[in-house]
């Protein structure tokens, strides 16, 4: 997991989805759903953030908790997407 990417994701989650709350208890593999951090808008806010920050497009079938429900999952998903974006000619 790229720590720079993970830090950026954590910052977004803390500032935008948790009203800035950071008591250090949110671990990289905590479920955002179980912790009551995302709702239906939160997921779309998260996707918009990923698309604008990392410059890729999230397909509808990628909108699943397996990709987006923890900092760790999101970071891996971002890495995977970024690698797939690079096309060698």
């Amino acid at each position: 997991m790229n720590t720079e990417v993970a830090r950026e994701i954590r910052r977004f989650i803390r500032d935008e989805l948790m009203f800035g709350e950071d008591d250090g208890s949110l671990t990289a593999h905590d479920s955002l759903l179980s912790r009551g951090i995302v709702d239906s808008t939160g997921v779309l806010e998260l996707v918009t953030f990923l698309e604008t920050t990392f410059k890729f497009h999230v397909e509808d079938d990628e909108l699943v908790p397996a990709n987006l429900d923890s900092i760790e999952n999101i970071a891996r998903f971002v890495e995977r997407k970024c690698r797939a974006c690079f096309v060698a000619n």
Binding site: D15, E16, M18, F19, G20, E21, L33, G36, I37, D39, S40, T41, G42, V43, L44, E45, T48, D60, D61, L63, V64, P65, A66
Partner: protein, 664 residues
């Protein structure tokens, strides 16, 4: 409808001036006359909105023998029938008011008189001989009634501001009730958001005497086991139409003109059509419209108005108007609110009053009684889906339930499962409401660490569960969901913050044919499919409505009444005063001074709104909740005289000599 207040002091002379102050603080509820009466132990106050017996209905009103005195807010719709019955029993009357019928009914039948009443009431009757105060509130909580103690004096009033005007009561935030409101959207009775101030729960009476206080429930929704019901749908449809017509006819009883609200939905269209049928003269109707098509229902309102030929007026509600009246809305709601939806209702009532009307009929209650709310359908789909969690078709049903929530439509099945808590055990008695209530967990992040620490061991749902009757757990899932909506959210938010308080802020009385006791009781025994047929809500009512309302209104997808939320407070065209008020309430200094919220969290939330970012339902509710709470504390707590407020029982040691009741 009116405002009432009173004081009982078994230890000595009551403070008559205080009774006057308490009723004067509620003058908006009854601008036509303010009166008080007292016998030295009890003082009663009344602010009158003259609707029935304009000449003779002054209050406090005494029985013919002057033993019992009443102060009454509301309407007894079957008073003419009860009067005949009481006269046949030898009871005498000096006026033609419904108020005197209540006094005589109480003299005749004691607290059992409530079983015979059809109406909306909050009243207090003082027995000058027994020295007992009897208070009662209608079955569903249309009319409010609060009480507290100031030292050893018992105080009651229609509104909390009436109690505070006594001068001996301190307004201090009740953290447990605040927790209830931010989780369940309404406080759980008898608690209010102010410590030591209580409400008499709907369907309860209370007796206060030197011996102490006794509170008792006299009615509950008689849900029947639908499996044993064998009945004809056609018969029930005929009965429903006749019953609604009768309920509407009774609610048109007034010595002043009665108007109607037209929301654009089915329920108000049915009520307006029945009112049209029952009146020969002009019917005046009123609507709200919004610039934002997401909330606006003008098209359907126009269809109803055209089909009935009413004299119609529309209040155009702009975002800036909601922000402008918000402090007033909170002052009247007397509790934090998580939605701005009461604000347009406040503006609508203002227009009704300007138009010269004091009474309006509305469609309130139809969703609770006839099975209209999305939460009922959601519960059904969640149960259905839980039986086959892998079914993609069942998952899509959930998104389809909320066509007006575009963000839900994009979600994957896995996320829908999570949002609608598919994992919840469907035998959980609160299965229907868990997804709604879990939203509250997100809202709690805006509270200060101190408040959150105080809530660490506070279980909102256990508190609610402890106040439900034991029969609740035995109900079917639909009946449980209906029970919660009808006994908690309806009185705690819909009828109060959106209903009574907004209308009475302008001296306007709302009347609700769908909340007639006969309909409440009959609908509780309907088979579930009369309410939800498949996913078709209010199925039996729609059948009746086809004869009464335009097809466009009957067949349109249900749209709950909503108003533009959090963003209105940051609209570009706010007037300077409104902008200053909002900035002030949300400023770090003010947040620190009330101590309830975590200033950095609120600042982040506000920044999100200011920059026009996408905001979630939780963000919207958090913002409106913070603003309303801040406004409430500033308006009620800061300027209130500090004094002790104790809930101790009465000291029975001394009783003053009885003096005759006086009026002045």
């Amino acid at each position: 409808m009116c405002g009432i207040a009173g004081i009982v002091n078994f230890d000595g002379l009551d403070d008559r001036a205080a009774a006057g102050r308490m009723i004067a603080a509620q003058r908006h509820r009854g601008p036509d006359a303010l009166r008080t009466g007292s016998d030295g132990v009890a003082g009663l106050g009344h602010a009158r909105l003259s609707i029935i017996d304009l000449a003779g209905g002054q209050q406090p009103l005494g029985s013919v023998d002057r033993r019992w005195w009443i102060t009454f807010n509301g309407e007894l719709f079957n008073y003419r029938e009860l009067r005949e019955e009481l006269e046949a029993l030898g009871r005498r009357f000096a006026t033609s008011s419904d108020t005197e019928v209540i006094v005589n009914a109480y003299c005749e039948w004691g607290e059992r008189c409530l079983d015979r009443f059809n109406g909306d009431w909050a009243f207090a009757i003082w027995d000058t001989v027994q020295r007992e105060l009897f208070l009662a509130r209608d079955r569903v909580g249309v009319r409010p009634l609060y009480y507290t103690w100031a030292e050893k004096k018992f105080l009651f009033a229609s509104e909390i501001k009436g109690l505070l005007a006594h001068g001996g009561v301190e307004a201090r935030v009740n953290l447990a009730a605040l927790h209830d409101i931010f989780t369940l959207w309404a406080p759980t009775p008898p608690e209010t958001v102010f410590e030591g101030i209580f409400e008499i729960p709907p369907a309860h009476w209370m007796r206060v005497s030197p011996r102490g206080v006794h509170v008792q429930r006299y009615w509950d929704i008689p849900f029947a086991d639908e499996s044993i019901v064998d009945r004809s749908r056609a018969d029930d449809a005929r009965w429903l139409e006749a019953m609604l017509q009768e309920a509407t006819r009774l609610r048109l009883r007034a010595d002043v003109p009665v108007g109607a609200y037209v929301s654009g939905g089915l329920d108000s269209a049915v009520v307006a059509a029945l009112a049209r049928r029952a009146t020969t003269g002009e019917l005046r109707t009123f609507s709200i419209s919004f610039a934002d098509p997401e909330f606006d229902e003008s098209r359907w309102q126009a269809d109803v108005v055209q089909s009935l030929g009413c004299r119609h007026e529309t209040v155009r509600c702009e975002a800036r108007d909601i922000a402008r009246v918000f402090s007033q809305v909170v002052r009247h709601a007397e509790r934090p609110i998580l939605r701005t939806a009461p604000a347009p209702m406040y503006l609508l009532a203002e227009r009704v009053r300007q138009a010269g009307l004091k009474v309006v009929l509305t469609g309130e209650g139809a969703d609770e009684v006839c099975g209209g709310y999305d939460i009922f359908k959601e519960t059904k789909v969640r149960s259905f889906w839980a039986r086959q969690p892998e079914s993609p078709l069942r998952a899509r049903l959930l998104a389809r339930l909320y066509p007006y929530q575009p963000r839900l439509q994009r979600q994957s099945d896995a996320y829908l499962q999570a949002f609608f808590q598919l994992g919840t055990d469907s035998s959980d008695p609160f299965f229907s409401h868990r997804p709604r209530w879990s939203l509250g967990e997100r809202l709690l992040r805006v509270f200060s660490p101190d408040v959150r620490a105080a809530w660490a061991n506070d279980n909102v749902i256990e508190r609610l569960a402890s106040r439900l009757p034991s029969s609740f757990r035995g109900l079917s899932p639909l009946h449980r969901a209906q029970y919660l909506e009808t006994t908690h959210l309806l009185p705690g938010y819909i009828l109060s913050s959106q209903g009574d308080r907004m209308a009475m802020a302008h001296g306007v009385e709302g009347r609700f044919p769908f909340l007639d006791v006969h309909l409440l009781e009959a609908a509780a025994a309907w088979p579930a499919r009369w309410k939800l047929s498949g996913l078709n809500e209010k199925s039996l009512l729609k059948e009746v409505a086809r004869q009464l309302a335009p097809a466009s209104v009957v067949e349109r997808p249900k749209q709950p009444y909503r108003a533009p939320d959090g963003a209105v407070f940051f609209a570009k065209d706010l007037d300077a005063e409104t902008r200053d008020t909002i900035d002030h309430l949300l400023s770090p200094g003010q947040l620190e001074s009330t101590g309830l919220f975590h200033a950095p969290a609120v600042e982040r939330l506000v920044t999100k709104f200011r920059r026009g970012a996408t905001t979630s339902v939780a963000d919207q509710m958090a913002l409106v909740g913070v603003l309303s709470t801040q406004s409430l504390v500033e308006q009620f707590c800061a300027s209130t005289p500090r004094a002790s407020c104790s809930a101790s029982p009465f000291d029975c040691s001394s009783h003053p000599q009885l003096e005759p009741v006086r009026e002045y």
